[in-house]
Every structure is written in C-alpha cells, then in structure tokens.
Symmetry: C2
Subunit: 269 residues, 2 copies
C-alpha cells in the first residue's frame, strides 16, 4: 500500500525538496529523477527508487502500477508515496511538474571499480559546466555503447535535476566517476586504453586515426577546451573539420560526432 | 560619441527589455544578442546592431571600441549607448549579465529569397521546442557549411535570448526561414534537393545512402519525432544506429551526427 503525504511540512517532503541542492544531495547520498520515461529507463537498467512519489491522477497508469509493484516486491524499505500535484510541483521546482518523481541512491562509483574492458568506449569530460551538455553526453554514451562517463576536475554535478533530465534516463545505464586528472591518468596508464582528445590546436582530421578499443574520448570545458598539458598526454589529438565562420561546436555535439566516428570505424569490420 | 542612459525608466530601456518576449520582438522587428563573442561574430558576418549597450568598465575593450567605431561610421541611425551594469542586468534578465548587449533587426527571411544552390546543405527543423537545441543546430549548421535553417510548423522562436545564446553567433551566418510544411514542400519540389529524414521507424542505416547536394536535413520534434505523413515525403529516411537501452539521441546531437556524415561523404571526393 502506498503511504499518503499531503502536508508540505512533512519532514520527508522537506528532505526530498532539499535534494535540488548539490550540498544536500551529497549529505543524503540521494538524487531526484522526474517523469515516467526516465523512471522506466531506470527500472530497465536495474535501478528502483528509494522513494516513488506520484499523484492520484497517475495512480492508474500501467507504468506507475508496475513500478509500485516492483518497489513493494523488493521489500527493502523503499516506499511508494501518494501525494498531491502541489507537492510534486514543490519537489520538482517546475511549474509544469511531472506526475512521478523518484528519489534514487547516489550512483557515483570509483575508478577502481570500473572494468575498462566491459565496454569499447568511455566518455571523459573535463570541467564541463553545463548540466544540459553533461546529460546529453550521457545520452550519447548510452546510444554509442559507452560504458560510462568519467568526470575530471570541476564538472557540474551529474546528479543535478537538469543533468538527469537531459540524460533522459541514460544516467542509469552509464557508470559515473568523479575524479581528478592525475588520478585518471595514473589509472588509465595501468591498462589498455587510447586517450583521444578533441582540440582546435591541431589540423589532424578526426577521420584519420584508427581508433582502438577501449577508447577514452576526452572533451574539455565549453569555453576553454582542454588545458594544454592534458592535450599533451593524449594518445591522439584530433580536430573535427569546421567550414563556418564561428569555428566551434557545442561540446555535447562535438562529443557525439567523435563518438559516432569511433563506433562507425568499428561497425565497418 | 556614445549616448549615456542611466535611468531604468528611460523609454528605450523599457523597449529593449521588452524584447525578451516574443510578442514584442514581433512588434518591434528586433531581437537581443548578448556578449562580445556573439556581437563580434555578428559583425564578422556583416551584421551591426541597431543599438549597442555597454557598461563603463567595458568601454576600453578593443572589441567594444571597434564595434562602436563601426556603428558610428555606418551613420545609419544606429547608436552606441553607455549604461550601467544594473541596467545591462535588467536588459539581460540574467544575474551575471554580459557587459555588452546588442539589439539587431529581425533576420527572418522568406523561402523565396533563398538560393538553394548557394550552399550544399540546409537544416530543416519541425516543431522543435527547445531554444537550446535550436541554437545548437544553428551552430552546427555554421560548422558544416549549411546555408540556413528552415523552421517548419510550431518551432520555438530562433530570436529568443536562449536560442541566440546557444547559437554562439551562428544565427548571424545562417539564413532563417519560418514556414509551414505545405509551403516548404511546394518550394522544395520546384528545384533540386534531397530531403533526408531521420527516424526511428526505419532500419536503413544513415551511412548507406549516397547524399547529394543540395541536401535538406529534416529533424522532428524532440519527443514525438516527425509526423508519419512528413516522413513519407522524404526522399530518404534513415536511422542513426543506437546500441543503448534508451534508443534515442538529443535532437541537436542527431542533427549534427547526420550533418557530419553528409559532409564527410562529400569531403572524401
């Protein structure tokens, strides 16, 4: 049976609402995901929410019923909570709130827990600041069969509501690591792996190299690109050709164009 | 000499601030662009602002001085306006406002004014709702040598502050048309042009067809994709392969992956 919460002052509502801030996500070790599509993706990737909030008008939706049944069957303390549209709106912070919201345990994992041979491609983002870009890269990672996203230095929080939304649930299919450059390079060089950097500081066309698995696709900050010393440590530094006046691509777009070149080479075999 | 405006109540400040709303952009036939990078791109693409607002602390910036000099030399009634950071913030609506803001005349043009043979590639977006996606597609269009973006049906306004920002100035290098499907198809079929649709409703791999110029790359709404009747009118309908669980890509990402496949085929010759 779903518990019902109707009071804004309920302590759980306050706690869950606080998860819109990074500090509270850290403290609680949990994050928010909104919308049936994303929650269903999460379930299919093996992740059930710790708390599932839904409104009365979505109680009859088959996907809500399936999720609720699975949470109750898990019998691990997770809860289904029936609540009002107003409270969902408060939790979401959006005027046009989704009718379901899930609260999930933090998915971050350590470099050492990653099996690099479990996937041919890994995404690596350095000081990425835009949650939309980060979520979009997770989504592209899912589509291109990547194993996960390694976040270097001062990246935006991948568990922010905006990043989760932009990932469209791909967050749940990808390993997510947050680390520093030194630790990443140290780990990388202890096994196989081709580190591929995209840069404007080269004329080497991105279709020239022969990419080998596991490939680590490194993309830099939206405005500044990669630091020079990081570029020097790449096994190959390539440029996506640009014919325009602006000579730049959105960071998530550049990552996707690169990722498809890499997997297209492998698809040809 | 720059005119100085320090009063929030100044009628021009009120008018310019109103350009954050689509209705007022329509009425005034003008839109806002923010930041030196975008204003410089605009200048390089041959567009000077009708009004250039800048703060005292940016008055000595060489790019601001160059823009100001060019506006004064144009002697066409355009104005350079010195103002306060507070007013720039009010105009921009962002806490962290740029130090320069330009007001430009509307760039929309009609289908009939387009010379389709002036570029090998044209972007076509149908009912695209996200200004960030739309701006990103403009930026990709610039990078891939596209001639412009044709907006079909109920798209978000390409002259919104968010779309202009996401385009990073590429808006000024691309022709922009807003039209209906019937008018677009009628125009398209009166000359050469390969209409390429991306869809999940086909297994035809996007690397299979031989793309010919001028190519018209059609991308649909972020959640619904293209209407079936539009897909039927495409010369070729292709799918970008996806290996993941979510089976979807961000619309701007899919457009870029397609656009690079098309120009890569042409680059090989």
């Amino acid at each position: 049976m779903a518990r019902e919460i109707t009071a804004f002052s309920n302590p759980l509502i306050k706690r869950v609402r606080s998860l819109r801030e990074k500090r509270h996500r850290r403290e609680e070790g949990m994050f928010l995901a909104e919308g049936l599509r994303i929650l269903t993706e999460a379930d299919e990737a093996g992740h059930l929410p710790r708390y599932l909030f839904h409104s009365k008008d979505s109680a009859d939706h088959p996907l809500v019923q399936r999720l609720s049944a699975r949470i109750e069957a898990a019998n691990d303390g997770s809860e289904v909570i029936l609540t009002s549209r107003d409270i969902l709106q408060k939790l979401s912070g959006k005027d046009n709130a989704q009718t379901v919201i899930g609260v999930y345990p933090d998915l971050a994992c350590s470099l050492d827990s990653i099996d690099r041979t479990s996937a041919p491609l890994w995404m690596v983002a350095q000081s990425m600041r835009d949650p939309g870009n980060l979520g979009t890269i997770l989504r592209t990672g899912d589509a291109t069969g990547a194993g996960g996203l390694i976040l270097i230095d001062d990246c935006v929080d991948p568990f922010s509501v905006e990043a989760v939304r932009a990932s469209m649930g791909a967050l749940f299919t990808q390993k997510i690591v947050q680390t520093r450059w030194e630790d990443f390079i140290h780990w990388l060089r202890q096994g196989p792996g081709m580190l591929i950097g995209t840069s404007l500081n080269t004329d080497f066309d991105y279709q020239q190299p022969h990419y080998t698995a596991p490939s680590f696709l490194l993309v830099g900050n939206e405005s500044r690109g990669l630091p020079a010393e990081y570029e020097q440590q790449c096994d190959v530094l390539v440029k996506i050709p640009m014919m325009g006046k602006a000579d730049s691509l959105n960071a998530a777009v550049a990552t996707a164009v690169m990722a498809y070149e890499i997997i297209n080479q492998w698809r040809r075999k």
